[in-house]
Amino acid sequence: MDINWAQILLNSVITGSIYLIGAIGLSVTYRLSNFSNFAHAEFITLGAFIGYWVSSQLGWGLLPAFIIAFLLTGTVSLLCYRGIFQPLAKRGASTIHLMIASIAVGFIIRYSIGAGWGWTPQYFLNTWTTYEVGAIRITGLWLLLILVTLTSALTMHFALMRTKLGKAIRASSSNPELAAASGINVNRVILITWFIGAGLAAIAGIFRGASTQVWPMTGWDIILPIFAVVVLGGIGNYHGAIVAAFIIGLTENIGVVALTNLGLATEYRMALAFLIIIITLIVKPQGLAMFFRRA
């Protein structure tokens, strides 16, 4: 069997791009709020549905879909944080309590979406031109995804490294007590990161939905590899997450080839992400953060 390695590499970049956009918010809020927010999966789903509604049902196109999904999903995440997680944390809820609460919040959002839009998979109506460059085939949607990922990654890098707010986010996630003692309103920083993180998750949801299908499990389908990115990259480590996203993307795409050659179902590729989480936690719990200490 001939293997098109160039295509596999490109597919890995595409997979990694969705995971990266989906993981940024989860990683930073995980570190700042000190719990893993499983409702992040539903922020991805919500973004996919809002994108589908604006782009395909209202017919307004993709750009308004990105903007509206970003803002609405960001607002929903703020309401979740202010209305549920923050009050719980103030009442002394542990990491486990918050995590379970996030699973509950995720269920509520997921089934609300199901009640509103139904459980039958929906498809974006956009059509995408396919380009062929040598052995590589790439659609317009994938080119857009790569462009959005590059822009988001560079913007986030610039914001975190150069702006006062970005440094305050890094400072607050590293040492919240000292950040407060430096005059930083840590609570405001947390709210901003929840908003931006969920907004980016919505963008990831639109790309995932537009390239596959939109249904109430859209986010849940990819939350495991996104958690793998967060763990492998080092929780809260933005630069680690970039590298981890592409490692997971590559692993998954090479895994598909290997599984096919072994005559196994390609659904097992999800197990690879799980395997990476387990190996990372056993061998190097800090993940790739050891290479990116200025995070």
Partner: protein
């Protein structure tokens, strides 16, 4: 002259446990005040309660004549109260320059931040040479200097220091004390919690001695140093150390 900062009849602690009871202290401008006492006496709890890091059960905190009881730590910095914790007192994932930048967070004027940074590097030339070094890679003494420098970037009127000499070897420890003296001379009042009684009293104007969460003695640094009973009961000084002075 009214004190710049005073804590009156403070009861404070953590969760439901009261660690310090009925403690009153005051600090005046251009003054270094030491809080002394053995381990577990509640020294750190006292300064943490001023900033909202420990639970204040009773009492009042007055700053510049205004009641600021229960203020959050970030608001306290904006008002002019700086704080240097004993541990985890730098952002280890940020460079020296970024740490100082975060210290000046309440200031919005870029020019002012730049001039503050120049002033800070004048006081701490050791840091100027390594602006781009990660704080996590610094030695104990360098970290402590960075921690104080970070707090000074907000140009506080009062600086609260929690054991700045802990885990610092003697030479950088002496350098830190001399920097604190120059900070005081420039007009910042300093409240310093410290185990190293002999060293801290050498730069302090006054002091308070806490034992088991209560203030058992207060007075000028000289009187505390000379007080035989305090030396034996509370300060834990070795006779031979005193003899050498």
């Amino acid at each position: 002259m009214s004190p710049i900062l005073s804590a009156k009849n403070i009861d404070a602690g953590y969760n439901d446990v009261i660690v310090i009871r009925d403690i009153s202290i005051e600090i005046n401008t251009r003054e270094i005040v030491a809080i002394l006492g053995p381990n577990g006496s509640g020294k750190s709890t006292l300064i943490k309660s001023i900033l909202g890091f420990a639970k204040l059960f009773d009492g009042k905190v007055i700053y510049h004549g205004k009641d600021i009881t229960g203020i959050t730590s970030d608001r306290a910095v904006h008002m002019g109260i700086g704080y240097v914790p004993q541990i985890n007192n730098v952002f280890s994932n940020l460079t020296i320059a970024e740490n100082l930048d975060m210290g000046a967070y309440p200031c919005k004027d870029k020019k002012s931040i730049k001039s503050r940074m120049t002033e800070t590097y004048d006081i701490f030339p050791e840091l100027a040479a390594r602006k781009k070094a990660l704080a996590g890679n610094l030695s104990g003494g360098e970290r402590q200097m960075l921690a104080i420098a970070r707090a000074m970037m907000a140009q506080p009127k009062v600086l609260l220091l929690d054991e700045p000499l802990a885990s610092v070897s003697p030479k950088p420890g002496s350098a830190i004390l001399s920097k604190l003296n120059s900070i005081k001379d420039k007009g910042t009042a300093i409240l310093i919690v410290e185990q190293n009684v002999q060293k801290v009293l050498s730069i302090s104007n006054r002091g308070y001695v806490l034992v088991n969460g209560a203030c058992v003695m207060s007075g000028s640094a000289d009187s505390l140093f000379d007080e035989e009973s305090s030396r034996q009961r509370f300060l834990g000084l070795e006779e031979k150390v005193l003899d050498n002075n």
